[in-house]
């Protein structure tokens, strides 16, 4: 690749790391949308609080301030400097993903954490943002060469590395997020449309793949035996799993999405209860703190992945629609930055960040209203979780930094 970093040195960039005049040019609409979503998130978290001490509520507020600090740091740096660091970020991210395969603690079977003293990092979260930088860097470097097929195809090779590592964890949701990200950034970067169509067609081949995976699948018979079972029966070995086979819990999620009534007390419980929570909300909801689905423990994960169902139950269609509307406004504002940014790097960065956030908003809500199978995808600003909250705030910072640097170039 004929890409060199000859004039992308940190020394050059450092002159613009902090520039107080830029603060005056900060966008004012986006912070308004963000603060509205953040406030709704706090109010909702107070109602969805699972513990008696309101620990989650207070922590969520702290996450915001920590995230705001990260956003401020990002804003104060020129995004072009950060993009120029993308190759280094890529190496670190891939390193963490490899490390996580060896020294990770497992939560809920699929989310993997790296514990460094008091800090717990979810490398797959970080990777999402890093990959936006990497793609922005790569595509800017390529320029119009992206219209040639081999450069176009090389993009997927770069993406395949973190994707496969994340799939190995296994974290289907995050890996899936990288797909749309690649497609959108290629599209914005100006790739040939028939190249893109080819990829989408290839993606449609997933349908027969899924059919192959679920063909003859039986939730009871195919259930893998527990580790304790194999301890008790040392003569038996777990059957080998070919690499192309999905895990049982992954198959189960697709299966229960397709047959929600098959086992209402088992795997489909989440989908059914989420739909009941949303549906029973009606126009104006059951009232704040009066959501029975949450109060009586019917709705699972109501403070994390299913917080939208909780909100829709208590605040009804009006509340749900307002939240979706605010997300739309926030994301469209981000796309306006992309459209109006004079340089390719800022355009790509903004479009990529919007894609990631939009993916989370769309998939999370689609799951809660029963349009998609259950996968662990949190909702920005609303779902509880430090790692993800800070990632979201970092994304906000990146978005805000794009229009702030516009003037320099124009001048």
């Amino acid at each position: 690749m004929a890409i060199s970093a000859r004039d992308m040195t940190v020394q050059n960039a450092s002159v613009r790391i902090i520039n107080p005049r830029n603060v005056l040019s900060i966008d004012f609409l986006m912070p308004v949308f963000v603060m509205m979503l953040v406030s709704i998130g706090w109010v909702t978290m107070y109602s969805a609080e699972p513990s008696d001490t309101y620990a989650h509520f207070y922590k969520q507020i702290m996450f915001f301030f920590a995230g705001a600090a990260i956003a401020a740091a990002i804003i104060s740096m020129d995004y072009r400097v950060l993009v120029s660091l993308a190759p280094a970020m890529f190496v670190v991210a891939v390193g963490m993903l490899v490390a996580v395969l060896f020294f990770a603690s497992v939560v809920n079977g699929s989310e993997r954490w790296l514990v460094l003293g008091p800090i717990r990092i979810q490398p797959s979260e970080v990777t999402k943002v890093v990959m936006v930088y990497v793609l922005a860097w790569y595509l800017t470097k390529l320029g119009m060469r992206i219209r040639r097929f081999h450069w176009f195809a090389a993009t997927f090779l770069i993406m395949a590395v973190p994707m496969l590592l994340i799939l190995k964890q296994p974290n289907l949701g995050t890996a899936a997020c990288l797909g749309p990200l690649t497609l959108v950034m290629l599209f914005v970067a100006g790739c040939r449309l028939w190249h893109l169509s080819l990829v989408i067609l290839a993606g449609l081949c997933v349908v027969p793949f899924a059919w192959y995976q679920l063909h003859g699948f039986d939730p009871v018979e195919d259930k893998p035996k527990s580790a304790t079972y194999y301890e008790a029966h040392p003569e038996e070995m777990p059957p080998p799993k070919p690499f192309y086979e999905l895990y049982y819990h992954q198959k189960m999620r697709i299966y229960t999405f397709l047959n929600p009534e098959a086992d209402p007390k088992g795997g489909a419980w989440q989908t059914i209860q989420s739909k009941v929570a949303v549906g029973s909300g009606g126009l104006s909801g059951k009232g704040y703190l009066k959501g029975t689905q949450t109060r009586l423990n019917y709705l699972p994960e109501y403070h994390t992945d299913f917080i939208f169902s909780h909100l829709a139950e208590e605040r009804g269609f009006l509340g749900g629609a307002i939240v979706i509307g605010l997300f739309a406004a926030f994301l469209l504002r981000g796309l306006m930055f992309a459209r109006d940014c004079p340089d390719m790097m800022g355009t790509l960065l903004a479009a990529g960040i919007v894609t990631i956030l939009c993916f989370h908003v769309f998939v999370n809500i689609a799951i809660t209203v029963g349009l998609m199978p259950v996968t662990g995808i949190p909702l920005p600003f609303l779902s509880y979780g430090g790692s993800f909250y800070m990632t979201t705030m970092a994304c906000v910072g990146i978005l805000l930094s794009v229009p702030m640097r516009r003037r320099i170039l124009v001048r």
């Binding site: 004039d7 120029s84 119009m144 549906g279 029973s280 992309a338 340089d343 479009a351 809500i365």
Partner: protein, 648 residues
């Protein structure tokens, strides 16, 4: 500085970004539409689902009604039964093992098994773990005395069925058992649920709806992870516990319907007489039925072998229950009689000569003979085959009255041919034979009155058509209560009631609340002439004596008829006797029948006695009838009033 090359944008990039913006907006709009579909269009469906799953309903079970005999003697009631339960969440964890050992000491159970069960229920700390069912008073007292060192241990009291007189009337009362899956499906709407006890035989089954009462309920909000716990106070009255199995605080919705107790039932049964009849039977296999001949009220219905229904409802008698349910496994036919099947109404058998009164009445009613017509009995009757009279040297010229008094077979062989099978069959049905009497008990045997259509139906699959044909000689055989004719002792008692009460067919019943049903089926003249024969059967004590002469009670006017029902061909019986040192094996012996009625009293009763394989009715069965009559009229016979004045 980044090179200006990096910053250049290709023309059209804005369009691509805007296209993406439109696509994103459409995607988010789809979510809005789905939200609208769920929350606005399908609101009612999801509201119902949401309400349906959070409203829990705890049933408050009703007490079963009490069953009384005549004069308010209690036959079945409910006693408080105490279960010991342990709630792990009410006891500090480190004391679980200590409590297990204390309980094991007091109740004699295994401490480690209990501890394992507690461990296995960890997910539901407030579940009630059953430690011991139906503990004795002493055990319960010891638990209560040691309450300070048994935290989390509670006594749960609930009513349990009790049959106060054990075996007495046990077959009539029936018993309770858990509702079966098929029954549950049909009865669910009536409020029955899995695990409910329902009547499985006898009165308990027949009057299930009345005795069961109506269950109440209490509504409360239900958590997804727990189920409510019903506790009872020390008096056995139910109330809702405040925590469910997972330890969630329960919130009563303030909606409570108290259960309504099952209705009481008063039976026509006379407890003393019933007990007397059962004692009379002793070890004999047989049945005694005593009816009020005017109303059809059942005064006693005894049968042996019998069972004690308490074994079905008492936890500690589980082995006895299983033995009963598996059925008798004796070596001899006598031991193989099923105690669950009352011989009085669930089993039918050949009636023998007691059936003759029906043929006699039919012949008079149909005019084929007059009261004075005679038939000459030479000891046998020629009709293709030779049919014998039990009196091998014959009765000579016999009229209707004497034919009943001496039980002449040839008389009935002859008039049966004049009547024909269709008329005999029709008259039998008028008496209620060959069909259920309609007594308020389940599984009554219908008896059997054979006729050509019945025989053709039975043999319809036989290749040889001659097997299914009705031969005229069969008409003569069935007319003396042999062949295929079958009857229950209950039917026999109802049959003679018609002659005691002046020609009415009655419907036997046990519930005092039932209105007696009567239907006049015989003309008074017919009743009179048959009655004369039945009276002579008992009262004629000079030579030639009436066959029922042993049932004569001084001071009473008694109608009677003996019956000796052959169960196998005589040749088979004689052959078996020869092999058995001249003793006929029990299962081949004749059934001994006697039916009796008392007239010219305020209370007119009908009695039927069946001694299974008792040999000769006149010797074996009639003394039982005599004893019963003496018992019933004991007061009058001592010059006092009759105790059992008929109700209606």
């Amino acid at each position: 500085m980044p090179s200006s090359h990096d910053a250049e944008r290709y023309p059209g990039v804005e369009n691509r970004v805007q296209f993406f913006a439109v696509a994103m907006t459409v995607a988010l709009a789809v979510l809005g539409v789905q939200l609208w579909r769920l929350q606005i269009l399908n609101l009612n469906y999801f509201r119902e689902k949401s309400m349906g799953q959070i409203v829990g309903e705890q049933r408050l079970k009703s007490d079963r009604g009490i069953i009384f005999a005549r004069d308010n003697a209690v036959l079945a009631d409910n006693r408080p039964s105490a279960d010991i339960v342990f709630v792990p969440g009410e006891c500090p964890k480190e004391r679980h093992s200590e409590v297990c050992h204390s309980l094991a000491n007091i109740l004699g159970i295994s401490a480690s098994e209990l501890y394992d069960e507690i461990e296995s229920k960890r997910g539901a700390p407030f579940i009630q773990i059953l430690v011991q069912q139906d503990v004795t008073k002493a055990e319960r007292t010891r638990i209560e005395e040691n309450a300070y060192k048994l935290p989390g241990v509670f006594t749960k009291v609930h009513p349990q069925r009790r049959y106060l007189h054990g075996k007495t009337a046990g077959q009539l009362l029936g018993y309770l058992a858990e509702i079966g899956p098929n029954q549950l499906e049909t009865w669910r709407e009536d409020g029955y649920r899995q695990g409910d006890l329902i009547g499985y035989a006898g009165i308990e089954q027949q009057y299930e709806q009345l005795l069961h009462g109506r269950d109440g309920f209490e509504r409360y909000t239900r958590y997804a992870d727990g189920s409510p716990q019903l506790l009872t106070d020390t008096g056995g009255k139910p109330y809702i516990a405040t925590r469910d199995t997972a330890g969630n605080l329960l919130d009563s919705m303030g909606i409570r319907h108290d259960p309504s107790r099952g209705g009481d039932l008063h039976l026509t049964l006379d407890l003393d007489l019933q007990e007397h009849c059962e004692n009379l039977l002793g070890g004999e296999a047989g049945a005694i039925v005593v009816l009020n001949a005017d109303t059809g009220e059942v005064l006693a219905m005894a049968s042996n072998p019998a069972y004690d229904p308490n074994v079905f409802v008492t936890q500690n008698l589980r082995t006895e229950k299983n033995v009963l349910l598996q059925g008798p496994k004796g070596a001899t036919p006598r031991e193989r009689l099923d105690p669950l099947k009352s011989l009085a109404f669930k089993e039918q058998t050949y009636p023998g000569s007691i059936y003759k009164m029906v043929v006699a009445a039919a012949a008079i009613e149909e005019g084929v003979i007059t009261p004075t017509s005679t038939v000459s009995c030479g000891g046998s009757f020629q009709m293709g085959a030779v049919l014998h009279c039990w009196q091998r040297h014959g009765h000579g010229g016999t009229n209707l009255v004497n034919s009943l008094a001496y039980s002449c077979d040839v008389f009935y062989y002859t008039i049966a041919q004049k009547l024909g099978i269709d008329r005999i069959s029709a008259w039998s049905h008028k008496f209620g034979l060959g069909e259920r009497t309609g007594i308020d008990l389940p599984e009554e045997a219908p008896g059997l009155v054979p006729n050509p259509a019945w025989k053709a139906e039975v043999h319809k699959n036989d290749k040889d058509p001659s097997i299914g044909r009705w031969y005229p000689v069969e008409t003569s055989i069935m007319a003396i209560g042999q062949g295929s004719t079958q009857m229950t002792p209950l039917q026999a008692a109802a049959m003679i009631s018609t002659f005691v009460n002046g020609g009415y067919r009655v419907r036997p019943h046990l519930n005092q609340g039932m209105k007696p049903e009567r239907e006049k089926i015989l003309k008074d003249e017919t009743v009179e002439i048959v009655k004369e024969g039945l009276l002579r059967c008992v009262e004629k004590d000079d030579y030639p004596r009436g066959t029922g002469q042993q049932a004569k009670v001084k001071g009473l006017r008694v109608l009677g008829k003996t019956g000796t029902a052959q169960v196998v061909r005589l040749a088979v019986r004689d052959e078996a006797a020869r092999k058995n040192n001249g003793v006929v094996p029990w299962a081949l012996r004749h059934h001994a029948w006697f039916v009796a009625g008392v007239i010219e009293e305020d209370l007119r009763i009908a009695v039927s006695v069946l001694i299974l394989h008792g040999e000769k009715g006149s010797d074996v069965a009639s003394p039982y009838a005599k004893d019963v009559m003496e018992y019933v009229y004991a007061d009058k016979l001592k010059g006092q009033h009759v105790a059992l004045a008929g109700g209606e």
